[in-house]
Symmetry: C2
């Protein structure tokens, strides 16, 4: 009587349904506020079935976080020395803005974790991110020393790019309300990318 789902895929499909539902619930209610029942309802499964795939609520959350971090990792873009500052920064901004608009939920989960003290992400920040920032800061420093760009604190610059790009995902409800709009449209990605690229390159003394 059941639909003939591709065999061996039931697990994968159920897990995906659960994780999607969980992502929504965790954003809307926070970790403690989200209930296994609501995740189950939202995923269209009985609660016991959800707990069949994930031992408990914390495991669901860990899975959601892991998914989020993978996305962060892929979406971060890169800053490559051989591109030179202008191209590298533009590429980086473009990647982050695209990521924000295409994956706002991941950005929100991530933001809430950090706001709440990053209990589950301290290690990630301490090892991976710290390393990443140092590496990229070194590249900026080279460019500055070579006179390829203005003297701008590289770490502060990275934080500035992170904050301005993520803002469009995390604060979408505020932005849309203020602009009296219901949803982002396709143009918006391009418009925001252009604005930020332009503005930040100028801030770095790389334009006009």
């Amino acid at each position: 009587m059941k639909k003939n789902n591709k065999p061996q895929k039931v697990r994968a499909i159920s897990i995906e349904k659960i994780l999607n539902a969980a992502q929504d619930e965790f954003i809307l209610q926070g970790y403690k506020g989200a209930t296994v029942q609501s995740i189950a309802d939202s995923a269209g499964l009985p609660k016991a079935n959800v707990l069949y795939y994930f031992k408990n609520k914390e495991n669901i959350y860990h899975a959601v976080l892991e998914q989020t971090l993978n996305m962060w990792d892929e979406g971060i873009g890169d800053i490559e020395a051989h591109d030179g500052p202008k191209v590298a920064i533009e590429k980086f901004i473009r990647a982050k803005v695209a990521m924000s608009f295409n994956n706002p939920k991941a950005s929100k989960i991530y933001a809430m974790e950090i706001i709440q003290g990053a209990q589950h992400l301290k290690d990630f920040a301490r090892t991976y991110q710290r390393q990443w920032v140092r590496e990229k800061a070194k590249i900026f420093k080279c460019w500055i020393d070579n006179g390829e760009m203005k003297q701008v604190d590289p770490v502060s610059l990275i934080f500035l790019i992170w904050s301005t790009t993520q803002h469009y995902a995390d604060f979408d409800s505020q932005i849309l309300t203020i602009m009296n709009r219901a949803d982002y449209e396709d143009d918006d990605i391009e418009h925001v990318t252009n604005f930020l690229t332009d503005f930040i390159l100028r801030g770095c003394g790389l334009k006009q």
Copy 2:
């Protein structure tokens, strides 16, 4: 046997203790995750006493939010036409950075509300903030038309300033971890203010 607190102040003191405790709890656990018991413990009062001052958890939350919005309102700084773009923008950035460093908790409560869809803040954004942004955007437009600053989309600029300044409050745990520091120090406010002012003024074509 009780300490001789200034008469008529018991209420005010208790309420303040409760709201401070509640602010911490709501940040750490979210609205649904925070428990009246934990707020009471954190405030050093029995639960029944907390519920004597606030009918229920939602009322506590409303009170915290109201406090937060008042702070936002006071801390927003202003953008005044007669200052001219350079001074006005610098004043504005300085006010917002100070606000972030001095009131990170308010900023976090506010951020969490918006990330979660701004259920309780939609009205605030729809009326007050939208109006504020339009007003200030008009001032920027004047400056641009007068050739006093580069052609920069005013609304995007406001969002950029909001995001970059609030970032230091909301994401403090990430920033500190990456920089391998335990806490912000006094210098940091000044350093961040200078960096942002410098960078943003240059982005607006108002410097070098």
